[in-house]
């Protein structure tokens, strides 16, 4: 069957795209994690100059389409003199976006820790930051691991939007193969399968880590 063999013939080409997708997603999640942790804590701050910008950030980034955000970073920032190539631009946009979603996850995670934990740590003389670092965040991360896994999976799928600025990730490479072979359906199906294998692996990995942390 030509429709199937066309997928196999182009598998190396498509898998390169899958690798790009994974790299793109991993970098973005890393940025999102750092940003999200800071902003998630900021959302809970009683200090207005920290709380208000954090809230605005989260609401804005969650309230606008990722496609628009990617376009702004790639096409819009040059007007301000910031030229990013497609790949870094995609990482920045996806990272900023996932930062907003992760911030909400982190906020919920922190709120899930009993207040007594915070008070016990403070009563021992630990500062707010030490308390966050050694007591609250480690426990919160354990609780939010499944939600973070979901965010990773969502971002893996959403990263296909980076094709609009020419990042040759999996989706874009699929389109190239389609225009050469005209095997629209089988290539789309092959791409879907590769995406599924990636997200399935991630969710298994997250579950594995979760189990190991539950033992500790």
């Amino acid at each position: 069957m030509e429709a199937i063999s066309v997928v196999f013939e182009n598998l190396p080409f498509l898998l390169m795209g899958a690798l790009d997708t994974l790299k793109l997603t991993s970098f973005s999640v890393l940025i999102g994690l750092v940003l999200g942790t800071l902003i998630g804590m900021g959302r809970l701050s009683k200090i207005k100059v920290i709380n208000v910008p954090s809230t605005v950030y989260v609401e804005f980034l969650r309230g606008t389409p990722l496609l628009v955000q990617i376009s702004i970073v790639y096409f819009g920032l040059p007007q301000l003199g910031i030229q990013l190539q497609a790949y870094p631009a995609a990482i920045v946009a996806l990272g900023l976006n996932s930062g907003a979603y992760i911030a909400e996850i982190v906020r919920a995670g922190i709120q899930s820790i009993p207040k007594g934990q915070y008070e016990a740590a403070r009563s021992l003389g630990l500062t707010h930051w030490q308390t966050m670092r050694y007591i609250i965040l480690p426990q919160a991360f354990k609780n939010i691991l499944p939600a973070l896994g979901n965010e990773f999976i969502t971002l893996t799928k959403d990263s296909s939007l980076a094709s609009v600025i020419g990042v040759t990730e999996l989706m874009r490479r699929g389109q190239f193969v389609i225009t050469r072979t005209f095997q629209t359906f089988s290539i789309y199906f092959g791409i879907a399968l590769i995406y599924f294998l990636m997200t399935f692996t991630i969710s298994r990995l997250v579950r594995y880590v979760e189990k190991r942390m539950a033992v500790a």
């Binding site: 790639y74 096409f75 040059p78 190239f176 225009t179």
Partner: protein
């Protein structure tokens, strides 16, 4: 961790490229051309993962004349003009039809190809349109932002479905959700050759032509591109006549 940060910063810094004038392109040593390589035979990715096609050869010719290397940046079709405006690329060579609307935001070279449109239908079915007017009351799929999109949009009473990829438009035709696909003749011929279940019902001379996109105000580059194109139209004999019998600058 630190290493990754460094790699990332390096990527960002490498990303800072200033596109523009002829002098800058020469200094940089490469011409950056934007195209959407899902438009065979004008531009597509071949078996060896290279972007090739009619337009790519034209772009190569311009780069050769400039004495610089050619770099192809692949972008979706509707991202090409924003990319040109935001200095991501020097030129658009992408089978782009010269239109009034586009000419408001970018400059076009002299035309280099006639953009005849083909009406493609399912073979063996009674519907066989001969003119654009025959599409009245029908459902038509086109590729977003292409000449096909423009000409069909001008006919009243047509239900248009627009796709990012022309291959998706054909999928729609195959699934019988539309009655016809309107797209560039050369592209249609290549596709119908592979899939004989479709047939080109008619070719319409729209009088529209492809041009190379240049950022507004970049007169020097525009002029250079025009010279290269008009020289390509000339035979070697014409060029010799020009060289020996006419006053050159």
């Amino acid at each position: 961790m630190k290493k990754w940060v460094a790699v990332f910063l390096a990527l960002v810094i490498v990303g800072v490229i200033f596109s523009g004038t002829l002098a800058e392109i020469k200094e940089r040593g490469k011409l950056i051309v934007g195209t959407e390589p899902t438009f065979p035979p004008f531009e597509y990715v071949n078996e060896n993962n290279e972007i090739v096609g009619f337009d790519i050869d034209i772009a190569q010719k311009i780069a050769d004349e400039l004495g610089v290397e050619l770099e192809i940046l692949n972008l979706p079709f509707d991202s090409l003009i924003p990319a040109l405006i935001s200095d991501k690329i020097d030129l658009i060579v992408a089978g782009m039809t010269i239109t009034e609307e586009r000419a408001k935001v970018i400059d076009f070279s002299i035309p280099y190809f006639n953009a005849n449109q083909a009406i493609v239908v399912r073979d063996g079915e009674p519907f066989m349109p001969q003119t654009l007017g025959d599409l009245k009351g029908k459902k038509v799929a086109v590729q977003l932002g292409t000449t096909g999109d423009l000409v069909v949009s001008d006919i009243s009473g047509v239900t248009i479905t627009r796709f990012q990829k022309f291959t998706d438009a054909f999928l729609e035709l195959q699934n019988k959700r539309v009655d016809a696909v309107v797209l560039d003749e050369a592209v249609a011929n290549a596709y119908v050759k592979t899939f004989p279940k479709f047939i080109v019902a008619a070719v319409i001379d729209t009088g529209e032509k492809y041009g190379i996109g240049v950022k507004k105000g970049n007169e020097e580059l525009l002029e250079f591109v025009n010279t290269v194109i008009s020289n390509m139209f000339k035979s070697p004999y014409d060029l010799l006549v020009e060289k020996w019998f006419e006053e050159t600058k």
